[in-house]
Symmetry: C2
């Protein structure tokens, strides 16, 4: 990856450790958000810091979450600042020296405040985008969602504005004098793959739908 | 999985949403910590909440981290409370209704304060355990670590005492009256696998070492 083409959006998002791995452009950030399905959302509540794993999806310049209207996490998120973290493990990097071992990765850290998506048409469209983004075309084939289900669900979003990405995507660095040390040096890629689907015994439909995961 | 066999270790670790998915026993927690390589560490600094992805490993009842002695994250962690989050995505759960879609997962949330591992023999033994835990037997084959490298590195650990696990590991739940809706219902498992290793062009050793990932 080339060096960052634009500056950090705020002082606190400026990557200080290994800043040559930083990216602040919206396209790099969006691509990492889309490649991941899970994020961790950190927030402050009752004087303590909490960090909770959750599914996310992206629409334009926002990252979206969903859950129970009664959830502590979702309530806390509209009342204070949050930090959202996404990390993808792309490879194990094995060097000749212990210290130069590393990982290839893509990560994003976002600061800001979530807002609730309450406007009914927007909320419905977002839930449709969530389902269809994972399983193309699925929304229209499902048992239609009810008012009661919609009312029990919260949808929140945060702007991907105060965000940074950090990426490592290359081979092994070792000290010059260690290059002929007789131990294997290289990268072992890691990938998340879909396995064999398990159809429910009582599923009337038997053919597995396509997913974003191939 | 059976119901939790012991109570939450503290009021704030008691899982309130879907508590039937909670586990508080040390063995369940340790197994999830070991199955994951990455965690997210959340901490408070300068009035804001930060959450940073990092590698972890476990020794007994502690989760360990490493990084630069000069790192903001590692410095902040010994000065205040932290929350560590681990999440593994095990499967996509597709239901007949939108709302009953879900994921199979294993997650852990830990609260507490990190302590620095500074005693030289303990620190060295921990870094060895870190490398050999990923790549059995590798430490002894590496270019030996130097004093300077050890001095530049911090190792921190947190007790897995104030911790909870949450697990979903089964099929599809749908409302009774939706069971014959003609759309596929089932689980698509997800797995992270090691791909084809990429040997460095200048690696003297050409045979790939074993890893914990098979
Ligand atoms: C898969 C993975 C594994 C990692 N393992 C380790 C490890 O074992 N040890 C270790 O020290 N570090 C590890 N890192 C790097 C780690 O995430 C931090 O970048 C690093 O520890 C420096 O943290 P800091 O708070 O001191 O950074 P600083 O550079 O001081 O952070 C300043 C700001 O930069 C941004 N930033 C920092 N890190 C990231 C990031 N990863 N992604 C996007 N924005 C970021 C945030 O806005 C942050 O507030 C790992 C990263 C990933 C993705
Ligand atoms: C892979 C994955 C995807 C998820 N996706 C979603 C989603 O899209 N929407 C959603 O609402 N929820 C999701 N969850 C569940 C989420 O992590 C929370 O459990 C849930 O949102 C309730 O949060 P809360 O803060 O309101 O919980 P509460 O039950 O009030 O939390 C109380 C305490 O229980 C413990 N706890 C809570 N959650 C967890 C956990 N996951 N693991 C271990 N301990 C925990 C913590 O100690 C926490 O402080 C997902 C979980 C995983 C692992
Ligand atoms: C045991 C010997 C090791 C030592 C002494 C060591 C030392 C360090 C140090 C000092 C840093 C901070 C870099 C910086 O912020 O400037 C660091 C970061 C890191 N280490 Fe290690 N490390 C060791 C093993 C490993 C192993 C085995 C892995 C991979 C499995 C690894 C993965 C990483 C990663 C991913 C980072 C973050 C780099 C970044 O910010 O982009 N390290 N390590
Ligand atoms: C679009 C329609 C959807 C609606 C209305 C909906 C609604 C909800 C609600 C209300 C909760 C909170 C449960 C609770 O805390 O009591 C929840 C949690 C959750 N949802 Fe959804 N959901 C939808 C789609 C999905 C999809 C497509 C997935 C999977 C990809 C999913 C995965 C989850 C997960 C993993 C949880 C957490 C359950 C737990 O805490 O163990 N949801 N959802």
């Amino acid at each position: 990856m080339p060096r960052p083409t634009r500056p950090a959006p705020s002082p606190r998002t400026r990557v200080r450790r290994l800043p040559e791995r930083a990216h602040y452009d919206a396209d790099t950030i969006a691509a990492i958000v889309d490649a991941a399905m899970l994020c961790t959302v950190a927030f402050q509540l009752d004087g303590a810091v909490h960090a909770i794993p959750t599914i996310h999806w992206r629409e334009g310049g926002h990252l979206y979450l969903h859950g129970a209207k009664a959830s502590r996490m979702l309530k806390a998120l509209t009342e204070g600042e949050a930090c959202v973290t996404i990390a993808l493990a792309d490879g194990l990097v094995l060097a000749r020296s212990a210290m130069h071992h590393s990982m290839n990765y893509r990560s994003v850290v976002v600061y800001g405040r979530f807002e609730a998506v309450t406007e009914p048409a927007h909320k419905l469209a977002s839930l449709r985008a969530f389902i269809d983004g994972l399983y193309p075309g699925r929304w229209d084939t499902l048992r239609p969602i009810t008012e009661k289900e919609l009312n029990a669900t919260s949808v929140l979003r945060i702007a991907l504005d105060e965000a940074s990405a950090k990426v490592r995507d290359w081979g092994v660095k070792d000290d010059e004098e260690d290059l002929d040390w007789p131990v294997w040096a290289g990268v072992i890629p890691l990938r998340t793959l879909a396995g064999e689907p398990v159809t429910e015994p009582d599923s009337v439909a038997r053919s597995v739908p396509p997913t974003r995961f191939g």
